[in-house]
Amino acid sequence: MKEYKVYAIKDGTVIDHIPCTKALKVVEILGLENKGILTIGINFTSQKLGKKDIVKIENKFLKKDETDKISLVAPTATINIIKNGVLVEKRKIEIPDEYINVVRCLNPNCITNSENVQTRFKIVKKNPIVLRCHYCERLVAQSEVEII
């Protein structure tokens, strides 16, 4: 019998090919901590990435607009939807048009750092990623992004 470090799930979502050590950040961004049984694997060997993390959540089927939120920390991730033990959908992460409540604005003078309001960042460029804060209109490069 094949040995699994992280056991297969019957129904739920598998987020595979997460860059190593980013699994916990993915869980946080997607708010999965209290959403069901989670299995997290960190620093697994990967043919594709060398090393990878995996997150599996049982009995929850994450939609595309949910999983695209992780595109800044896990652009290489693949999403597998499992139903009744069968892979029914496999998709890649895509960069959404806007990130809501994912990225912190680093401008200390931005209203989002004083008022109780969700941050919104629109994509200005995809390759490399450049974001613009919807409120203060400052630009942020992907390397400077701070995830909330």
Binding site: I111, S114, E115, N116, V117, H134, Y135, C136, E137
Partner: protein, 335 residues
């Protein structure tokens, strides 16, 4: 609204109707009615031309009294003289009323009320809000929670769109259009909010832009990229002498002492960017000279006497532009 391709000089008909049509029945929708005015990035060249056209009409005496019965709330969380007074004057001259505050002393903000609550409450007391606030993005947030249009009177270092509208309107009074214009910006191009905004707006029309500044006060790279993507050519210089092209508009900004670590360095730099009659000659002698004011000593008093010096007319145009904008946003001036 269709663009007519270039600006119609003030005094000519700005909207041509087919005389066989019923103008009331077929009047195009006013695209600014009920809309907040927060950022230049929200606007198209058509909308900028609409504001300019209506400002010209107001300046000719049209639309008098059109704001009767309407109330403007001026919420100035930080001080302003020209912007606040010109909005309040514009509203009153057009027949409307004004309420508001300057500074947060003796307001509920001192009691800890947040911006969202303040806007939610105040928008129930008025028909339109003009707001100046020290934090960037404040006007955007206000527009999202307000039940009435919000006009951004300046949000920190970000936007001050009505200054740009009056700058464009002023330029349009001297030139037939913006497309082939040569506009030079002189002074602090790094921190100057009005420079960033006007350069952006002109780039939407494809004007040629000449940036003259000290090395440490260059126009920001990310904005340069945006301006070039919009379609404008940019030329950069350390000195006015290097421009060697006849310029149509010279837009001057103050170089602030605080931007320099060394006072001697500041004095050396500020002196060489002072505008004198000789500066005007070096740029071809015909350029109109603009300044968002207040000016300190970056334009010599001798320049005030030149016909080219239009910075005070520029400031006065704020009344007409803001009157037109209030009329459009309140739906009392139509296309």
């Amino acid at each position: 609204m269709e663009s007519d391709g270039f600006f119609q000089p003030a005094g000519e008909a700005v909207v041509k109707f087919n005389s066989n049509r019923n103008p009331d029945k077929d009047l195009p929708m006013n695209p600014l009615k009920g809309k907040s005015i927060v950022s230049l990035r929200d606007l198209s060249t058509d909308l900028l031309l609409l504001i300019i056209k209506k400002a010209a009409e107001v300046k000719k005496g049209m639309h008098e009294g059109c704001l009767a019965g309407k109330v403007l709330a001026t919420l100035f969380f930080e001080p302003s003289t020209r912007t606040r007074l010109s909005f309040e004057s514009a509203m009153r001259k057009m027949g409307g009323e004004v309420i508001g505050f300057t500074g947060t002393k003796f307001t509920s903000i001192e009691k800890g009320e947040n911006l969202i609550d303040t806007i939610r409450v105040v928008s129930g007391y008025c028909d339109v809000i003009v707001m100046r606030h020290p934090l960037e993005g404040s006007a955007r947030l206000a527009s999202e929670v307000s039940s009435v249009p919000v006009i951004n009177g300046g949000d920190g270092a970000n936007q001050h769109p009505t200054q740009t509208f009056l700058d464009l309107f002023t330029i349009s009074e001297y030139f037939g259009g913006f497309e082939n214009l040569k506009v030079a910006f002189l002074g602090d191009l790094k921190y100057g909010r009005t420079v960033h905004s006007l350069a952006y707006a002109l780039s939407m029309f494809g004007s040629k832009l000449y940036f003259v500044s000290p090395e440490i006060l260059r126009f920001p790279d990310d904005l340069k990229e945006e301006v070039q993507q919009n379609g404008s050519e940019i030329f950069e210089f350390n000195d006015v002498e290097d421009v060697e092209t006849e310029i149509d508009v010279l837009y001057v900004t103050r170089i602030q002492k605080e931007r320099f670590g060394d006072i001697q360095e500041y004095r050396k730099v500020a002196g060489s960017y002072r505008v004198t009659p000789e500066t005007v000659e070096k740029l071809g002698g015909k350029a109109i000279i603009m300044h968002p004011l207040p000016r300190v000593n970056e334009i010599s008093p001798e320049v005030d006497k030149l016909e080219n010096a239009i910075y005070f007319k520029q400031a006065h145009n704020g009344i007409f532009v803001r009157s037109a904008l209030l009329g459009l946003v309140l739906g009392r001036i139509n296309v």
